[in-house]
């Protein structure tokens, strides 16, 4: 019997057109995802294989949620079908066992689902043949790789979610409950992921993530490129447990359903669940027994009272609202929806209660964060619910078989149509309100009482609601078009992805036009959803272009609605062609007129937007920009080493107009020829879109002038009379922000919290690299090696300047304060504007900025230095910590290295719409509002790193490391700037906050480094030779390395060496310093026994692989404890793409054969000091560096107390990918 039903069901699916549409869509979208993931062709290929196991896992994993949402339409429908058609009344009387019936249904549904989903594999495979895919980056089909993913992940995941869907639909006999169950499931997964994040609970999160992704990440996070390319997925340990855990859950769910399932006509045990929700409705409304009236009762004469009928427009609008309410109530009372609301609410709470995390510290529960966090994820839920309920409402009459009764009433189509549409909008509003309630509740419980209800309402309903409405418009069309609401739902679901895919693939297939916002439904401004918001700058002038696009797509959506209305099913059309002919006949009169009006407005708006996108400020697609830049690089390459005059003095006049978001500036350069040659050609760059003009105080002519793709100008100027060595040339320049309109808002000047740096001023020399960075091209113009004698003639940051005198008069509106480097000479008011005259006390690096905002100012003093923090009123939480950070940083650097060069130091807040980072300018430290000002550091449970303090210290340290000690333009320059600033930070933290916080920080940094190095597609440089774009080296690795160095050499010794170095090289104006020069000072301070450190930590990439094989504690008679430790140490160099090398340059290597496991462990020769520690809680019972010369080691130690933990390199000073086996807990 089983096979009969199974085959029958399968045949049914094979005949369903919907199945093929699902399959085609999966094929298409996976194909697009596959090609979207592509690598650039040959030359700049990174070495990443596109179809390695881990990459395939990622690409296919992208479809996880789509697959889950497909399952109700197949596995849910398979059981719902019999209820819907009332077949169950007949079927359940048939002589088959429920075992046969249920399993056949279930397995046939699974088979069909898996068939559809397997198209993903095919799509991804086909995508690898596309012309724009570099064939070298593809292995080709491999059954094991695909089999692993589909067999171990995709199929079990279908099984799990499919079981839930099958059971929910089986119990409730309602297919929508199946869909909602999936949404709730996704929300639940999200909440679990929030509570047990992989960072805090790696093991738990690996088990709890039902997709299996976290468990894979657990093992592969630190994989290098070589490992990623070569390895299959790790199917052991947590991955296996994860799979087993969820399969057991699926089995339990299915079995309990199976045991309770009976062939009954009414959903009896389902009802029991449903009645849970009827607590709200005290009396049961179901009718039992017959009606008691006597059948022969006489009928009185039918004499219905006269009523008046009203078919006026006003009444029809009222009817629309009446119907809207009816539909809305129907959905809101629907138990699955109630569950969804509850689940959604908790998801919001879990999401926002942690706040915006940075490292281990959360932000304050600011309104913008309460909104930002859940909106991004919740927007997907709102869309899914919209698509689902659009189908449900449009087909509601038909589903209940009451469509004939409704359709013969004199209510026009548009009333019915709009009532559904408005009901959906009400649902959207309900869901958006959850965010508001969740946010306010969280704020309340966190003791944050500044409820900005207005901001909630503006953001949710003013800014974002329209976004969802426009999607609802599309859903109305799709769901009106398809009579199968599940298919319609699925197509709606893929539509947003499809529009992104189109924009992505368009340029690849030679249609760059498709990149434009006017072709991407409900998008524009490049982003899918939402607007960045700042407490200082608000929406930063983005509202008008945002609403311009939203208006445009609203018009577009209205056209779709028009289409949907003509396709609206009224009565019983029997074929699609009849529907079309009805649509044609409906498309007349007012509808046609309205449609034409909307069409004209839509096209007009489209042209306007396209014009604004492209014409007033010439538009270049991303591809065009890249091509133009490459062409310019080729063309101007010969100027790469041109000698430019140096800027020695900058005087600026800068007028900022915050309300108008506009600036008007002018400047004077004094240039000196510091070379020994006559300079007759000057190469000059400046930014596009600043209306710049310039003039030299001498006779000159242009050799060429070019604007490169709307990014920058590249001019070549010939001086009539060459500039002789040491001669001076004056230059003036003016610049102005571009004229604004509703579409183009100048974003450099903010309403509040402006931060503009020196990049707006002209630069000299060949300087195109930064453009690559700006447009996100890989920065493969690598720095020269520090031994390159030419290189060290130039500064890392500015090749056209060494030191400058700086002076600026900055003006702003009368309610704001303007800031620039230097001491404030004078401040005055004039014509409702405030003027500030700044001049630096000493020469500074060519690094300056202009800031303006409505600030409160905190003032303090350290020794004779004036300290100030400028912050937005309301952001005072961490100002004191910043002040403390400035003092601590100044004290450490001043006492250990050299005196501070200015008389004042300021931290100034800027709007986060201008970035979230902090920077160190001479005497001014601009700091994004999210970078410390709004961190929740006061919370009584806060144990995280105090990074308001830390960031201040780091940026203060740059006054030395960057402004006093200035690295040459060579590899390793960032070690001198960033690693050293971090070193200062760690030392100060150690002193002020104690060992514990530092160790936490170090652990975090190490993890950060190990994860990021795994993503390095190029070559991981040694710390000394780090490239400027290898942030993961000079920040986290630098931090850990210098901290370890301090622990090995002693802080005093190391600081003396560094201090000597600083005094030697500070304020150098030629022969800028390099890492080898710095390492000489450190080497000098290093005893011979530790000299290997310099090689291992700085000159090469060297990793350890140590582990405890065994640790035994035996109590001694005298009350002490003996620990017998058996451990292994191995060391290797990590070379190109993470390949491990165990031989040193001389070919020496050691090895050890572990007879128990029959494996041979290799290592570089060892004479290394490894810290062995024994702890009792936080108490250090034993901590000493032991010299290790062999791989296999045994040691016995005696301590006074019973230990809780033993560790090899217990605090993680050395780099070891597998840290866990270095520790043993008791």
């Amino acid at each position: 019997m089983f096979s009969t039903i199974y085959k029958y069901e399968l045949k049914h699916w094979v005949k369903q057109p919907a199945i093929y549409i699902y399959a085609i869509f999966f094929l298409l979208f996976s194909w697009a995802a596959g090609t979207g993931n592509s690598e650039p062709p040959e030359a700049s290929w990174s070495g990443r294989m596109l179809d390695s196991s881990i990459e395939l896992f990622k690409t296919i994993g992208f479809f996880d949620t789509f697959i889950a949402l497909l399952l109700p339409a197949i596995l849910g429908l398979t059981i719902y079908r019999d209820y819907r058609s009332n077949m169950h009344q007949i079927l359940y009387a048939y002589p088959f066992e429920k075992r046969d019936y249920l399993f056949a249904k279930y397995l046939s549904g699974l088979t069909a689902s898996f068939g559809v989903v397997s198209m993903i594999g095919l799509g991804v495979y086909i995508s690898s043949f596309m012309s724009w895919i570099n064939p070298e980056s593809v292995f080709g089909f491999n059954l094991r790789r695909y089999g692993q993913i589909f067999g171990v992940f995709v199929l079990p995941n279908i099984l799990l979610v499919g079981t839930i869907v099958f059971v929910v639909v089986g119990v409730t006999r309602n297919i929508y409950a199946g869909f909602i169950a999936v949404i709730i499931w996704v929300l639940l997964r999200e909440s679990l992921g929030n509570i047990f994040s992989p960072m805090d609970y790696p093991t738990i999160s690996a088990i709890l993530d039902s997709s299996g992704k976290n468990s894979i990440d657990f093992y592969t996070n630190y994989w290098t490129v070589a490992e990623r390319n070569a390895n299959l997925l790790p199917l052991h340990g947590l991955v296996l447990w994860n799979r087993v855990f969820w399969m057991v859950i699926a089995a339990v769910i299915f079995t309990s359903f199976y045991r309770k399932f009976s062939f009954s006509q009414n959903a009896d045990f389902g009802l029991r669940l449903v009645t849970l929700f009827q607590i709200f409705k005290p009396k049961t409304n179901s009718l039992k027994g017959n009606d008691k009236l006597s059948p022969n009762r006489k009928i009185q004469k039918i004499n219905l009272s006269e009523v008046s009928f009203d078919f006026s427009l006003f009444q029809q609008l009222k009817t629309t609202w009446y119907l809207t309410k009816a539909d809305f109530k129907y959905i809101v009372k629907h138990p699955p929806f109630v569950l969804l609301i509850i689940a959604g609410f908790f998801t919001v709470i879990f999401m926002v209660s942690k706040g915006m995390m940075r490292w281990d510290t959360s932000s304050l529960p600011l309104t913008r964060i309460m909104l930002d966090l859940p909106l991004s994820m919740f927007s997907a839920v709102i869309n899914i619910v919209t698509f689902l309920y659009a189908g449900l409402l449009i087909n509601r009459g038909r589903m209940a078989f009451s469509n004939q009764l409704i359709d013969i009433t004199p209510t026009p189509n548009w009333v019915l149509f709009f009532s559904k549409f408005i009901a959906i909008i009400l649902i959207q509003i309900t869901l958006l309100s959850l965010i508001m309630f969740g946010g306010i509740l969280t704020q309340f419980f966190k003791g944050y009482y500044e409820f900005e209800i207005g901001q909630y309402i503006i953001e949710l309903f003013g800014v974002n609601l329209i976004h969802f409405i426009i999607w609802a418009m599309l859903a109305m069309l799709i769901q009106s078009l398809f009579t199968n609401p599940y298919l319609g739902f699925f197509i709606c679901l893929l539509a947003p992805v499809g529009f992104i895919g189109l924009a992505d693939l368009g340029p690849k297939m030679g249609l760059p036009l498709l990149e434009s916002g006017i072709f991407r439904y409900n998008q524009g401004l490049g982003s899918m959803f939402g607007l960045p918001y700042s407490d200082l700058d608000g929406y930063g002038g983005l509202l008008s272009p945002y609403f311009a696009y939203k208006f445009y797509w609203f018009l577009g959506g209205s056209l779709l609605m028009g289409g949907a209305m003509t396709l609206w099913i009224r009565g019983l059309p029997h074929s699609f062609s009849e529907r079309l002919s009805i649509a044609k006949s409906r498309f007349s009169g007012k509808l046609a007129l309205a449609f034409s009006l909307f069409l004209i407005s839509f096209l007009g708006m489209g042209f306007t937007l396209y014009y604004q996108e492209t014409i007033p400020r010439e538009y270049y697609s991303h591809q065009e920009k890249m091509d133009l830049l490459v062409a310019a690089e080729k063309k101007y390459k010969r100027y790469q080493n041109i000698i430019s005059p140096h800027i020695v003095s900058v005087k600026m006049n800068m007028d900022l107009y915050p309300k108008e978001r506009h600036f008007d500036g002018s400047g004077k350069y004094i240039l000196v020829n510091h070379s020994e040659e006559i300079i007759d050609t000057i190469v000059l760059n400046y930014k596009s879109q600043l209306n710049q003009t310039y003039d030299f105080e001498c006779e000159y002519e242009f050799v060429s002038q070019e604007e490169i793709g709307n990014m920058a100008h590249f001019d070549i100027v010939k001086l009539k009379e060459g500039l002789k060595p040491n001669d001076t040339l004056k230059m003036t320049f003016q610049m102005k922000s571009m004229p604004q309109n509703w579409f183009h808002i100048n974003n450099r000047v903010k309403y509040n919290g402006t931060y503009i740096n020196d990049e707006i001023c002209p630069r000299f020399g060949y300087w195109l690299g930064y453009l690559r960075e700006e447009i996100g091209m890989n920065y493969d113009i690598k720095m020269p090696h520090p031994t390159d004698t030419l290189a060290i003639k130039e500064l890392e940051l500015r090749k056209d300047s060494k030191m400058i005198d700086f002076e600026a008069i900055v003006s702003t509106s009368d309610d704001q304060i303007a800031i620039s480097p230097g001491a404030l000479l004078r401040e005055w008011a004039e014509k409702n504007r405030r003027y500030f005259h700044y001049k630096t006390e000493t020469k500074i690096s060519h690094s300056f900025l202009f800031m303006s905002g409505e600030f409160d100012v905190a003032k303090d003093k350290w020794r004779n230095i004036d300290l100030e923090v400028y912050y937005r009123k309301g952001h005072e939480y961490n100002v004191q910590r910043m002040m403390d950070g400035m003092k601590a940083g100044l004290e450490f650097c001043n006492d250990n290295f050299s005196p501070y060069q200015f008389n004042q130091l300021k931290i100034v807040e800027f709007a986060q719409t201008g970035g979230v980072s902090a920077h160190g300018f001479p005497g001014v430290l601009p700091s994004g509002e999210g970078a410390g000002f709004t961190a929740d550091l006061d919370g009584h449970k806060h144990e995280g790193v105090d990074w308001a303090f830390g960031t201040a210290v780091h940026e203060v340290a740059h006054q030395w490391w960057g402004h006093q000690v200035r690295a040459a333009s060579a590899q390793g320059s960032k070690m001198i700037a960033e690693s050293m600033a971090e070193y200062v930070n760690v030392c100060v933290k150690h002193k002020v906050k104690g060992k514990k916080e530092v160790r936490k920080y170090i652990k975090h940094e190490m993890d950060h480094y190990l994860q990021k190095r795994a993503r390095e597609w190029g070559t991981e440089q040694p710390l000394m030779y780090t490239h400027p774009d290898q942030n993961y080296i000079h920040y986290p690795k630098g931090t850990v390395t210098f901290y370890a160095l301090k622990e090995y050499l002693g802080q005093e010794k190391l600081n003396q060496a560094i201090g000597k170095f600083v005094k030697k090289v500070a304020f150098r104006e030629e022969g800028f310093t390099t890492t080898p020069e710095m390492m000489n000072y450190i080497r000098e301070a290093t005893p011979d026994s530790l000299k290997y450190i310099i090689k291992d930590w700085f000159e090469t990439v060297t990793l350890y692989d140590s582990k405890i094989v065994d640790a035994k504690i035996s109590p001694l008679k005298n009350g002490q404890f003996q620990i017998d430790l058996d451990f292994q140490v191995s060391k290797y160099r990590s070379e190109d793409k993470g390949i491990k090398v165990f031989e040193d340059e001389k070919g020496a290597s050691i090895s050890y054969h572990d007879t128990d496991k029959d494996e041979t462990i290799q290592s570089l020769p060892l004479a290394d000091y490894i810290e062995i520690g024994i702890l009792n809680g936080d108490k250090e019972l034993y901590l000493k560096k032991h010299k290790v010369t062999q791989i296999k080691n045994q040691i016995s130690l005696i301590v006074d107390e019973y230990p809780t933990e033993v560790g090899i390199d217990i605090f993680g000073l050395l780099i070891d990918v597998k840290r866990a086996d270095n520790l043993k807990k008791f």
Partner: protein, 290 residues
């Protein structure tokens, strides 16, 4: 009040001619549309009820061309389809209010009053707060009538309403229809001849999309008076009898003998006796005559 159907044709995509060049005129009162299953009754009724389109022909009611002005017809139309469902978990009261609004009654008070009246008429008043989805078959049909009456309709179309009702329910149902039919045009399709006999002032017999006969029930039975003969025969003789005579219908007796009814101007043979003419005879004769 007058419904005129002219040359109506409807062919489905699968080639079935559901309505075949049909013309019909229907006046005030109960009009019975009699025909076997698949005769095209429902298609015709749904077409009149503005739910379906026709390929050719037109339908007029009181000067309204219903293909061109569906809305005007809908304002005065009451329709009870052969099968209908209701929104689950909604009480009769709320559902009727819903329909009354759809039918254009703006005032809430008037809606309430009218709803109470229709509930009274259909004997549903006591069950008005119960969910309609839990009603028995007869109650649901009466609910169908209640919603139908909400706009005081002038043209009422009822598609096989008595199928599946128990005799008492059927009785009650027909009584209500009769009441409504006195002043309005009621088109009532059925394949149960008795329904028509008890109720209709005019009727048509339909099959294969065509009207086979359009006549009043009384006239129809009068026409056949003296032509219908009956005889009780044994089972084995049935085939023989059918070959010899124009057998309109046959029915078993408890003793397994068979009563046959035969159409003949004269006494067909020995053993036949003259029978009272029933509407069935008209019906079967019309179907035979195709």
């Amino acid at each position: 009040m007058n419904l005129t159907i002219n040359n109506l044709t409807k062919i489905y995509k699968n080639g079935v001619k559901a309505v075949d060049n049909l013309s019909l005129e229907i006046g005030t009162g109960m009009f019975g549309l009699l025909g076997p299953n698949g005769a095209g009754k429902s298609t015709l009724m749904r077409t009149i009820a503005t739910l379906q389109s026709a390929d050719t022909g037109n339908i007029n009611f009181n000067g309204i061309n219903i293909f061109e002005d569906k809305m005007s017809l809908r304002k005065i139309l009451g329709y009870l389809p052969q099968e209908f469902g209701v929104y689950p978990k909604v009480s009769a009261l709320n559902l009727l209010d819903y329909f009354a609004t759809l039918k254009g009654i703006a005032s809430k008070k008037e809606r309430q009053k009218l709803i109470d009246e229709t509930l009274e008429i259909t004997n549903l008043y006591d069950a008005r707060k119960k969910h309609v989805s839990t009603y028995s078959g007869g109650m649901k049909q009466r609910f169908g009538i209640a919603q139908m009456l909400l706009n005081n309709p002038q043209l009422i179309i009822v598609d096989e309403p008595t199928a599946g009702l128990d005799p008492a329910e059927r009785n009650r149902f027909l009584n209500i229809l009769r009441e409504i039919g006195t002043n309005n045009t009621v088109i009532f399709s059925t394949h149960i001849v008795d329904d028509v006999k008890e109720l209709c002032t005019d009727m048509a017999i339909m099959n294969g999309g065509k009207v086979l006969k359009h006549i009043t029930p009384t006239k129809a039975t009068n026409e056949l008076r003296g032509q219908i003969w009956t005889k009780t025969i044994s089972r084995n003789n049935l085939e023989n009898t059918e070959n010899q005579f124009e057998v309109l219908s046959s029915s078993y007796n408890p003793d397994n003998s068979i009563n046959v009814r035969v159409n003949s101007k004269m006494k067909p043979s020995e053993g036949f006796s003259i029978a009272e003419v029933g509407l069935e005879d008209v019906y079967f004769l019309a179907l035979r005559g195709e």
